[in-house]
């Protein structure tokens, strides 16, 4: 039992931190520009695919270095020449723009790389078990994922709260006009934030690609869950996104590890239903069976009881 608990925690951490890398960029972009970027997970997919192609020539580490850069530059260009033009037409236009972009990127990926799963592998350097506990291995690569994610969180937090550029960004979130009057180039800052946000998604793609498999549906699988995190954490809150990411990662992991279901609940209540009961499917439901859907349940609960999210500041 204790082994399951330990590994469930570790697995939850890996998933949670990976989700955070995506959510951090998304929430940053939202808090600054007021745009929910529907194409965010698509940049994550682009990161994985670019890294795969680069890794064929320069190995995994080349991909880790260059793929996020390419994705970031691409993101910045899309902001500069696409999103900024649409910005004048209001938020709905921006929303629709990113929505369309997500489809466009998915089709482009299928066009250039084809619909098959790509053979994108973890580097040989990290191809060993970090430790073995109760006969279960924890791979070094997963440890590496945790390290990178935590490193990015710390760096991001430091830059946003301690550095000069971070202070300007924070000011631009709440008082863009004042910041512009002080002589700062606010559109440039927007572009930069969008570029960094998408680059972070790119990093997530690079390191997740080898373990979660690189295929054209990978953006779709992760896309919706990232929005759930941003909403649960509170739109625009970095700390909220961090907590929500870990919460959801652990929640899913524990739910899968658990072995309880409706049957146990009924036993507890002293009830029993026949096997051919019309609602048999409901009575035999188990927690692991619905684990991947729990985040959405949590989303609904949060929206009902705390619409601003866990750490959200806006209370309109």
């Amino acid at each position: 039992m204790i082994e399951v608990l330990i590994f469930a925690t570790l697995n939850g951490l890996v998933t949670g931190l990976l989700l955070f890398m995506l959510a951090s960029g998304l929430t940053l972009i939202f808090s600054m520009m007021g745009v929910l970027n529907f194409a965010h997970a698509s940049f994550y997919m682009l990161g994985a695919y670019f890294a795969y192609s680069i890794s064929l020539y320069l190995g995994f580490w080349g991909g880790l270095l260059f793929a996020p850069l390419i994705v970031g530059v691409l993101g910045a260009l899309i902001e500069r020449y696409g999103l900024r033009k649409v910005h004048d037409s209001g938020h709905v236009a921006e929303l629709v723009f990113t929505f369309g972009l997500a489809f466009l990127i998915e089709e482009a990926v299928q066009f250039f790389w084809g619909p098959d799963t790509k053979n994108y592998q973890t580097p040989d350097l990290l191809d060993f078990p970090l430790f073995t506990l109760f006969g279960q291995e924890f791979s070094a690569y997963r440890g590496f994922m945790i390290t990178i994610s935590v490193g990015i969180f710390v760096a991001l937090y430091y830059v946003l709260t301690r550095s000069r550029i971070g202070i300007i960004i924070q000011a631009a979130i709440t008082h863009p006009n004042t910041v512009a009057n002080l002589g700062h180039n606010v559109p440039l800052i927007f572009m930069l934030v969008f570029g960094v946000g998408t680059a972070l998604a790119g990093v997530a793609g690079v390191i997740a690609g080898p373990v979660l498999t690189t295929f054209p549906g990978m953006a779709l699988v992760l896309g919706s869950i990232v929005f759930v995190i941003v909403v649960i954490g509170g739109l625009g809150s970095l700390a909220g996104a961090f907590i929500a990411s870990l919460l959801i990662g652990l929640l899913q992991s524990y739910a899968i590890a658990s072995d309880v279901g409706m049957a146990d609940l009924l036993n507890l209540l002293g009830l029993e239903f026949a096997r051919d009961h019309p609602l048999d499917d409901l009575w035999t439901l188990t927690l692991p069976q619905i684990a991947p859907l729990l985040p959405y349940l949590l989303l609904v609960l949060v929206l009902i009881f705390r619409p601003s999210g866990l750490m959200g500041k806006r209370e309109q």
Partner: protein, 420 residues
């Protein structure tokens, strides 16, 4: 409006008239036989769909069109329809196919889609006698379509889930080293069939073998299978059995391999379309598949010639589903025998048909339920003794166990209702 034909020189008028005659004659003699292919060509499951389409198109050209067509010179034209593997979209695409006057429909991916299509076909055929549609199911293996829900207009060219599980569980039961089994699958009709049937069969064949886990997960929703693998490890299972396909299959297998768990994994779909390359060296001798039509060692020269010709035209693809070729060949044989392209005549000719596939298999279409019977194989993922690899990876499937069709005749509950 008066045609300006009269102003043309005499000679040109004759040429034009001759041309018009020629074209009219041609279109009559060579009107193609059009076949709809309704499967996912975009979206998450596009990989399998496009690969199937390529194989069907190649088979039509290589076996028939390049040799002058069938039924006295008519070409086979495959018309693709993209259903994105969604039941709703399937109905729309089915309507489109009907409006284009197509009477034969190929479909294979996802039993949920096949069942929907089957309902649509049945409804259409009931309402439009004389305009029936023929459903050629080359891959959807939920047994229901050749049992409770069987129909005269539906033919299945793949062994259904229970037939495959019979072979797979026999194979597992014969291995005395396997004392416990973990079953994991996608939470939909096919996944449930696999889970329930495995439990039943194992209880009969090896009462001492313990099913230590029987798990469902939402289809296409799981990002990371590691938490599931943690459970598999702690359950102490000696083997894993799964009906997963596509991304769910790769992710599951990779997670098992990455966790260092070296137990056999018994699957239906863990090969080709990028899966074999992704599993690579790590999955060697660990991944097992149950399937029709041996890939390695190649049994006949015909099969070898077909594969080589396919590879020459599509170097990045493989012949992943020979059953598509069988379905087309048997369809053509039925057309030739009945000298007709009418679904009713084709269906009657297909019933009880015996056919030798390119691989040398003796296939039989049972009239009772329209289920095809041919030998089934268990193959292993390896790079040894592989002539035709998958994904150009050097790895492929090598058959290690074969069951003859007569040893796998599963009974059916179908009560076929034939049109008068």
């Amino acid at each position: 409006m008066k045609m300006p034909l009269g102003k043309l020189p005499e000679s040109l008028r004759y040429i034009l008239a001759a041309l018009a005659l020629l074209m009219a004659g041609q279109s009559q003699a060579q009107e193609p036989i059009r076949i709809a292919f309704i499967d996912p060509l975009s979206g998450t499951f596009a990989s399998v769909g496009t690969s199937g389409l390529t194989q069907l198109q190649f088979a039509a050209d290589y076996l028939y069109n390049d040799k002058g067509g069938i039924l006295g010179g008519r070409m086979i034209e495959i018309v693709p329809f993209d259903n994105k593997q969604s039941p709703t979209e399937t109905q729309i695409q089915f309507r489109r196919a009907i409006s284009e006057d197509i009477r034969i429909v190929f479909q294979g991916n996802s039993s949920a889609v096949a069942n929907t299509l089957h309902d649509a076909v049945t409804r259409h055929n009931r309402r439009n006698p004389g305009q029936e549609i023929l459903q050629i199911n080359y891959s959807a293996v939920d047994p229901i379509l050749t049992n409770e829900e069987c129909s005269f207009w539906h033919f299945r060219f793949d062994s259904h889930a229970i037939m495959k599980l019979e072979v797979l569980t026999d194979f597992i039961a014969a291995n005395e080293e396997i004392k416990s089994l973990y079953v994991i699958g996608q939470d939909y009709s096919f996944g449930h069939v696999v889970s329930e049937t495995t439990e039943q069969m194992m209880a009969q064949k090896r009462p001492d073998l313990e099913i230590v886990g029987n798990e469902f997960h939402p289809i296409g929703q799981v990002k990371d299978f590691t938490p599931y693998v943690t459970k598999i490890v702690s359950s102490g299972a000696d083997a894993v059995l799964t009906g997963n396909f596509g991304a769910d299959m790769v992710s599951l297998a990779r997670s098992i391999i990455d966790s260092g768990l070296e137990i056999p994994i018994y699957t239906f779909y863990a090969a080709y379309d990028g899966i074999t390359a992704t599993l690579g060296e790590d999955g060697k001798d660990q991944i097992h598949l149950v399937h029709n039509e041996t890939a390695n060692p190649i049994p006949t020269e015909e099969r070898r010639a077909f594969n080589l010709a396919f590879k020459a035209e599509h170097p990045d693809r493989d012949v992943t589903q020979p059953r598509i070729v069988n379905a087309l060949s048997m369809l053509v044989k039925a057309m030739e025998e009945s000298q007709s392209t009418e679904p009713a005549a084709i269906a009657s000719a297909l019933e009880d048909m015996r056919f030798t596939t390119l691989t040398g298999d003796q296939a039989w279409m049972r009239a009772d339920d329209h289920q095809l019977f041919q030998s089934l194989h268990i193959s292993v993922h390896t790079d040894e003794g592989i002539e035709f690899d998958a994904d150009n990876s050097g790895f492929g499937l090598r058959t290690i166990h074969t069951v003859a069709p007569e040893d796998n005749l599963i009974e059916t509950s179908c009560r076929m209702r034939r049109p008068r």
